[in-house]
Amino acid sequence: MSILTAPENYELINTCNKCGFCQANCSVYKEVLNEAYATRGRLRLIKAVADGQLERTPLYEKIINSCLMCEECSKNCPSGVQGHLLIQLARQDLVMKKGLSLIKKIPIGTVLPNNRLRKLSFNSARLLKKIIDPLPSLQSYRGIDLKSIPIADEDFLSGYQPEEVGLGKKGSLKIGFFVGCLMNHTMPQVAKSIVRLLAAHDCEVVVPAEQRCCGTPAYTYGHSAISEEVALSNINLFNSLGVDKIVTGCASCGKMLKYYSRIFEKNAEIEEAANDFAGRVLDLSQLLIDVLKIDLQKFALPLKGKITYHDPCHLVRGQDISSQPRQIISGVFGEQFVEMPTANKCCGAAGMFQGFYPEEATAITNKKVASIQKSGADYVVTGCPACLLRIQGSLRLNNMPQKVVHLAQLLDPDSAANIV
Amino acid sequence: MENYQQPAPTDFTQLQSLIVESHQMGQKILLKENLFPSHSLPDSSDLFLDLSHLNHIIDLDQENFTVTAAGGINFFALQNQLRDKGFFLPLDNYFSPQTSLTYQLSQALPSSYQGKYGSLRQYVTGLEVILPDGTVINLGGKCIKNVSGYDLMGLLIGSKERLGLISKATLRLLPVPEASQVICARFDSLTAAVTAASQLLLNGSIPAKIQVLNASLASAVNGLVFPAKPLLIAEFDGFKPAMPKEIQFFKKIISDYSNDITEITNPLEIAKLWLELGNTISQAAAKSPSKLLFTSQLTDLSGLSTELIQLAVLEKHPLGILIDLGNSSGLLLPLAEEQSPGWDWLSQAENVIHQTLNCRLFGMKTFHNAEINHIFQNLLVAFERRGNIDLSCPPAQ
């Protein structure tokens, strides 16, 4: 018995008709060309485990863990099978039956959920970088460009001074800002741009320092205990602030926060609070276009050259958001905006995937890099810090000059200095 | 010709009996049309069937656009009968007027309509075949799409009479085009003509037919007065509104190579033109044992024409060259009964053709590869049902 055999879950596992169309969109399958790494294959194995036909072997784990969770298969399945959700279920099952490996357990289970430990880890990493950055052989690791990952001396939440960034404390809309771990530690200046932008548009911005990790890593790898714990914590925190909307500039955080309502679907006590919370979550681009309806001409970073946009998986498929960011870019920059081929395909980062499956991740990211080159763009805009770092790093590893920018920076003329 | 046995069965039962008898006597069955002179004379002990009595249309299905006909029907006559009823069978080659449907199917010569309408095999939806031992097999029917097992029909078409004799065939038809028109141009050299025609096709024009004749052949066409210059003939068909555009495009491209362009719009004149051309070629072919049918790629045709013209110059008697750009094939045949003594133009021509990349000759009796030939032999045995096929698995090289 396992969660895989619970009737509602087992039923879902059995909805696959084996048409095989998921092979068309799966980025990992395209690199490996082995059925086991296509959604159809993975579902077959999950079913085999559920039926007791297969043990939870290391190879099974590898197959289950090597999914990008990019949701391409789910969006394109003729039968509506949500492959990524079933794989997440299989990961939950693995955690329950075998626990997480140490190398995942420490960051996911111990460090990220704990604000102090997280800050400590990032600071340690920053210090370590001071040593390894100048050493050419240690600048990249498994296809990840360590050198180009900036870790700020002071993370955004620790150093946040409302007076510094706010242009007026009171506003007609009260917005709770969810920063997200990566933006907090590696690009606090983007977080500042966001707050400045919102404050300039008649928003009262509230930034609770006790906010915790959104829970994406824990959820993605099936550690439901942790993801539920941090979710509850964030729900209670933000609900107590009485904000009209909760905004984030990170696609993954945004998707996770909206997903809180699904996590507590069956929990009568928390369900209402979760729905209340999730209902108020917006991605920055949604807030700017759909709610604030900002005048795009008013504030703009003076960029010259062609600009293209990369859709983070968690935005385009995770939240069905693809037109708002484009409206912003073409609204501000007009003809400078060019679409790149396969803009909405995964960048290959996928959280820890890039570290555990460097060959496939590098191949996938290189395809993104090739698309950028083909588009003729000088700048790549995106709405996810993880995508941003991944793409920027790979551009640098490929000796390409293009710069990657967060959407928020486009609307902040002061962020010019931050585009390296 | 008189030495050969040419029975002419009057019905299918008779046909079947003939086939059974000859099989028992170890005689090979061929169609009478094979008695056209060729450089390898057939064995006089073989039987040459004359199917001309089995020449009726069995079923014309107007709703499904199919026709089932007995194999002995004259191919040209079939097309005319269909046309009278508003149906178009877009298949044609130099030997149509003198050959039966069965012969056409067993030879599978390239069709001059191929560029626009596709090849013979695309139009056959059903066959009735009599195997060498007399067994009758029915394949297909009226369905355009069919993937039920192996494509036996495809195998039989073009198999000459070696696998069996096609006694009936069901063909699919198209509606007669609303309009058709011919346009000709004359050139100073064959190469210029072929180059011009190639350019037309490379620029996206899709004529129903497009052929180039060298000067000797052009002037040999009876009944029409063509000057002794290389000639390009193109036929366009389709809907009326599109025709002016096609013609205009033709003129635009071709005028870079020729300033002598004529349009023929009268349907009777068009029919006459093709008929006379067909007759000239098939009569010349019937008289001469040496002719070459070759196939190539569109982009190689210009270069090939230059080489062939040089050859034609060396041959003292007129040599006809026809290049069909619709199917990238061509025909080389002497127009007089004698050839220059001491000069073997045929093998010279074969050399030229073999040297040209992607150019191949028709009339291959065997495959190049030994193992495929082994399989070929096995297939012949299978169809003849003479005995067990050789199941030995040849050792890998």
Partner: protein, 461 residues
């Protein structure tokens, strides 16, 4: 069949350990294809070169090991099921486009190239490869050639067989041969190329495909038309062709499918309509207006209800949405679906649809009909629940009955999906014993040891 250790290691050594697998996990995922059938593969090999395949076949021939070739495994007749054990030869890693000769309309590709990838490669150049089955974004060209895949354009432009100029084939002995070539005409003594197309992996393994491509037409028009009944829609189809128009596409959907599609897409389809026709014509822009007018007139004469002509590319896409999403829409109604495939002469379409409606009531299974109306090829969509064994049984019975009906109406048991394993029992209904004997001899001539996808299409073992 159980392979011995020394045999397995020999096979692994031919392709290298990185291109072979024996793990239980991976064997499990190579048991199936898009049907409900299951096989027992013993080793999966991912060759990258013709030479490797030649060595594999030479060894397999010597040892009598079955070899089941596979592309994306999306076929619908069980052709890729390794039901006799042995090797699964997955050609997905042979996925390069090797040569392009636009002037001569030829492209040379490896068998693992995805159909859609070829289309995307050719499209910017103004060309395409006409056979475009619904699975084109996932299926491989090698699979398309092996199954002689169809697609909606067949009426005007033909099937895969008409677009294969030549093949590099590895025979059962391991010998590598080239059949045909790049010429538009094949002068070989027998047309073995055509025979290979649709041979479903039983006569040889294709390692290079020489394919004919076409230039895009100058222009096209797309129309959507609804009718009171399938009969009237079919009549309209025949009349359109009698008027001298050969449309490129004539897709028909019955009432059940119209409702499923509308449930899913909400594009305003008439839920009470008996049938829907999606029609496309192509050619020079000048001639299309007249053709559309004729088609509209013909449809009206056959009691059409609504007639819409797409005014823009976006609208064309919208009109196609109903057709493209119908399988997805239907799949959400019941847990499982079976997509079937038979062909009848065009004039018999109303009759077979009526028979199918009766079968649906008799067996109490919803069945929708999707048809390539122009060529009489239909795809009944049978909805069921695969966990209920009784329903699975019924699906097989219905399939048999549909094949029977098709044959009685002068049709064939497979228009596009092939015979494989699923339709093998019905072959004897369509062909005489002598014809079947010939097919078996043909198979043995190419594969005396019956190791190439053994006993698919016909049973010789």
């Amino acid at each position: 069949m159980t392979l011995a250790a020394h045999q397995l290691s020999k096979l692994v050594s031919i392709v290298g350990a990185g291109n072979a697998t024996l793990t239980k996990e991976e064997l499990l995922v190579y048991e199936y294809d898009a049907t409900l059938l299951k096989g027992d593969p013993e080793i999966i090999l991912f060759p990258k070169t013709t030479e490797q395949i030649s060595k594999i076949m030479a060894f397999a021939c010597q040892e009598g090991i079955p070899v089941n070739t596979r592309g994306a495994g999306t076929n619908l007749s069980g052709g890729t099921i390794p039901d006799q054990g042995g090797i699964v030869l997955a050609l997905t890693k042979m996925n390069k486009i090797l040569e392009l000769d636009l002037a001569n309309h030829v492209v040379v590709v490896e068998p693992g190239v995805i159909n859609q990838d070829l289309q995307e490669y050719l499209a910017p150049l103004g060309y395409y490869f006409p056979p475009d089955p619904a699975s084109m974004k996932a299926c491989t060209l090698g699979g398309n050639v092996a199954e002689c895949s169809g697609g909606p354009r067949c009426l005007k432009y033909g099937v895969t067989r008409d677009y294969v100029l030549g093949l590099e084939v590895v025979l059962s002995s391991g010998e590598v041969v080239i059949l045909g070539g790049k010429n538009p005409v094949n002068p070989e003594p027998l047309d073995l190329v055509r025979l290979m197309v649709g041979s479903e992996g039983t006569l040889g393994i294709f390692t290079k495909l020489f394919l004919r491509i076409k230039r895009f037409s100058h222009a096209k028009e797309t129309m959507l038309c609804t009718f009171d009944s399938v009969k009237e829609a079919s009549q309209a189809v025949s009349s359109i062709i009698s008027q001298g128009i050969v449309p490129t596409t004539l897709e028909m959907m019955d009432n059940l499918l119209i409702n499923c599609a509308e449930d899913f897409t909400h594009i305003g389809l008439d839920r009470t309509a008996g049938a829907l026709l999606l029609i496309e014509v192509d050619g020079h822009q000048e001639e299309l207006a007249d053709q559309v007018a004729v088609i509209q007139r013909v449809c009206r004469q056959n009691n059409s209800r609504e007639f819409k002509v797409a005014q823009s590319t976006a609208e064309t896409d919208r009109l196609w949405v109903a057709r493209r999403t119908v399988i997805g829409a239907v799949a959400r109604k019941r847990p499982s679906y079976s997509l079937q495939d038979v062909t009848v002469p065009r004039s018999k379409l109303p009759e077979i649809v009526e028979k199918i409606v009766n079968l649906s009531m008799e067996y109490d299974l919803p069945i929708g009909v999707l048809a390539h109306a122009g060529d009489g090829n239909l795809h009944p969509l049978v909805l069921f629940d695969e966990r209920i064994e009784a329903e699975v049984e019924k699906v097989h019975l219905v399939e048999e009955k549909i094949c029977e009906s098709a044959l009685m109406l002068g049709g064939t048991i497979s228009g596009e999906h092939g015979i494989g394993l699923l339709k093998r029992p019905f072959l004897a209904n369509e062909f005489s014993p002598e014809a079947i004997f010939l097919k078996k001899q043909l198979k043995l001539a190419f594969d005396p040891k019956n190791i190439l996808n053994p006993d698919k299409i016909v049973e010789v073992g």
